[in-house]
Symmetry: C2
Subunit: 225 residues, 2 copies
């Protein structure tokens, strides 16, 4: 491919550079095969470049992983829009429903995000600590406030319900997407189809917020205020 000349100080094009291509390929490989299972040679092969370019651009495999994770959380932040920044203000039922649908759409479009979270969050180690301290903790305060309110309104017992609701929610959203190959083989149903994604979001909104379209708020755990 033709490539325009660039001086030493001028940054290269962000979206079309092979560096960026390696970065996007790396996150998918790491999430699918794990950090140890994804070799730099296999990442380079999928990206269509030489293995030597990875140490050239990123130094170490660890550094490549970190840049790929940074990029993943940028994508999440962009997809959630105002919700990722606002935190747990005091959203209405419709705002919570919209947040659920935004997150479902993001996970369906980027299953590698939650696969990477599962890969690193399951065991202690430097990558888990780095990931949690740098990216998860800042998001967690807002999420806890939100689920604390949801839990109270739903009459969940005890003061520790928020953390449970948090993981119940993220697990309930993501499993069908990060287990998509298993789901297809066991049931013949493709959860990545647009109709399936919508049906999944519908089911989650119904489960967590109840069905307000019928004009009653009894089912579900969250009631309009």
């Amino acid at each position: 491919m033709a490539r325009r000349a660039s001086t030493a100080s001028e940054p290269t094009n962000k979206d079309s550079s092979t560096r960026e291509h390696i970065l996007q390929t790396a996150l998918v490989s790491f999430s699918s095969h794990g950090f140890d299972g994804a070799s730099t040679r296999s990442i380079a092969k999928v990206a269509g470049v030489n293995q030597g370019l990875i140490p050239y651009y990123f130094g170490t495999k660890q550094a490549l992983w970190r840049e790929a994770v940074d990029r993943a959380f940028e994508d999440l932040s962009g997809a959630l829009g105002e919700f990722s920044a606002a935190g747990g203000a005091n959203p209405s039922r419709n705002e919570v429903a919209r947040m659920i649908r935004l997150y479902v759409d993001f996970v369906a479009a980027h299953p590698e995000f939650v696969l990477m979270m599962n890969e690193e969050g399951k065991r202690q180690g430097p990558r888990m600590r780095w990931l949690v301290d740098r990216h998860v903790k800042p998001l967690f305060a807002g999420l806890t406030a939100l689920f604390d309110r949801v839990g109270r309104e739903a009459g969940f017992p005890g003061h520790i319900a928020a953390i449970h609701l948090n993981y119940i929610f993220v697990g309930a959203v993501a499993a069908i997407f990060h287990q998509a190959p298993e789901c297809r083989r066991v049931s013949g149903y493709d959860p990545m189809l647009p109709e399936a994604i919508q049906a999944h979001a519908d089911a989650l909104v119904h489960l967590f917020l109840g069905d307000s379209s019928l004009g009653k708020s009894e089912p579900g755990v969250f009631h309009e205020t």
Copy 2:
């Protein structure tokens, strides 16, 4: 350690043999580091035996993995008792609640089971196909029947809700346990403590079945018949 002599045809003691010890160690290692990430040397080291014993007992790494997975599903079947065999007969609300608590307790006691399922179910390959065809498909028919009934009673829209409820349920149960290290670091809360396991089961029963202890059946998605 002293070991009693055995003839060629006599099977060795199942629970105390080093073969069995390797098998149990292997599942934890595979679930934590993935098939490629878990080296036979590291498995042998954790088990406290020599690396050469793995090809001696199991032939190949693949065969070791298969035996470890067989053992994991035996444990699941044992923990679920009558529920794993009965399938989706027509359980009462209390029976469903009991099944939820049994599964929560199993996942908390054996996070390596769902970690292994996540590890292999996320991508296509010979291990995923073997695992699904041999172990998941036989369980799936009963689960679908159960969630089909739950979905109908809860008024979920459409005829494909069962598969969504299935993955919503298994994801909701397991995430806090398979992400336990992440959970501890982000929140300081240990989901593996007995009180936490019970609180998680309480939250799930409340979410999926509603709170019948108050004598009303409005919240939740499942109503007593």
